[in-house]
């Protein structure tokens, strides 16, 4: 058995939990895109090249709001800002991955990160191939899920009104997880309060950038007490 096969065999079991999640969430994305009139081609393009679950859902909302390139770019940065944290955490681990590094960085989703930061390649299995297969398998699950959703959505006529709420549910679940993982709830509260205040002042289509400025200012001003209160 060569190294690559060994790496694939070692990687696969780690990806099983993500497989279920990505097939279902990917399918929800496919159904949502289909309900907005997008063909399979667009669904595939998004899942192959964007490959960011929550951002792909947000991009459906962005498209519904009208064509705004700058707004879309800033929103992408805001939604994906957490990736900066994953990248910082993986700086060391991805050392020496050579030609694979660009793909490993491109495919660093929340779920892949959660596996990669804890899974260890077994003895004798080259680490970079192990990382590559974890990332690649997850990517394949996501693409497959979204295609299945797109096909499903076009075959059966379901009343999809309200399916956008999948995104809300996803973020609420992440928020609950985060809330339970820390005793410092100030950051979450800053995020919610800043956004609500800015939404009251600005319109639905332009409150995100003011919210981000407000958040950045607040956390910068509150840095001292926040770091003191940090228990993690």
């Amino acid at each position: 058995m060569n190294n690559k096969t060994a790496a694939l065999k070692a990687a696969f079991p780690h990806t099983i939990p993500v497989m279920t999640g990505y097939l279902v969430l990917g399918a929800a994305y496919g159904i949502l895109m289909n309900s907005k009139g997008f063909s399979l081609l667009w669904i595939m393009i998004a899942s192959v090249f964007v490959y960011a679950g929550s951002m792909q859902f947000v991009s459906v909302a962005l498209l519904a709001a009208g064509f705004d390139p700058l707004g879309a770019f800033l929103m992408t940065i805001a939604v994906n800002a957490r990736h900066l944290f994953y990248g910082i955490s993986m700086l060391k681990q991805y050392r020496g991955t050579g030609r694979m590094k660009p793909y490993l960085i491109f495919s660093l989703t929340d779920e892949s990160f959660s596996i990669l930061c804890s899974a260890k390649a077994p003895e004798g299995v080259p680490e970079k191939w192990f990382y590559l297969f974890i990332s690649l398998l997850n990517h394949i699950y996501w693409i497959t899920g979204s295609i299945l959703g797109g096909v499903l959505g076009s075959l059966i006529s379901i009343n999809t009104k309200g399916i956008d709420f999948v995104l809300t549910a996803l973020f609420v679940v992440i928020l609950v997880n985060q809330w339970q993982s820390t005793t410092n709830h100030l950051p979450v509260i800053i995020g919610i309060v800043s956004a609500i205040l800015c939404r009251l002042i600005f319109s639905a289509s332009d409150f995100i950038i003011p919210s981000m400025i407000c958040i950045l200012l607040s956390v910068t001003i509150l840095r001292k007490p926040m770091e003191r209160g940090k228990t993690t």
Binding site: L25, V79, A81, L91, V176, T182, G191
Partner: protein, 111 residues
């Protein structure tokens, strides 16, 4: 949604590029031998939490408390998601259950 193919291609390039930028930036800014500034480490610690709070509000940006149904379907569904998730801790169940409940609510109860 009425978009030209060019607009859509441009849109997905922007979103794909923005996403890649957030994933690659740490590797570009902090090559293996350079230390990470404390302020950046602090932001990396804090921002994931604040951004999710902001995103929940973003999802609800078109909901009105003063107009008909007064955000009741949203409030019920979110409450159920929080309870379900605190109880079972099953991400798919919480998301699937919450979204289905919301769809049922706005399709057949609050119509």
């Amino acid at each position: 949604m009425n978009y030209t193919t060019t607009q859509l291609i441009l849109f997905f390039i922007i979103v794909a590029f923005g996403t890649l930028l957030t994933r690659a930036l740490p590797f570009i800014l902090f090559p293996e031998n350079k230390p990470i500034p404390k302020y950046i480490r602090y932001l990396a610690d804090i921002l994931p939490y604040t951004i999710i709070g902001m995103l929940v509000v973003y999802c609800l940006k078109d909901v009105s408390v003063t107009q008909s149904y007064h955000a009741i379907p949203e409030a019920i569904s979110i409450l159920v998601i929080v309870l379900l998730h605190t109880w079972k801790k099953n991400t798919l169940l919480s998301i699937g259950g919450g979204a289905l409940l919301y769809m049922v609510l706005i399709q057949s109860v609050f119509v």
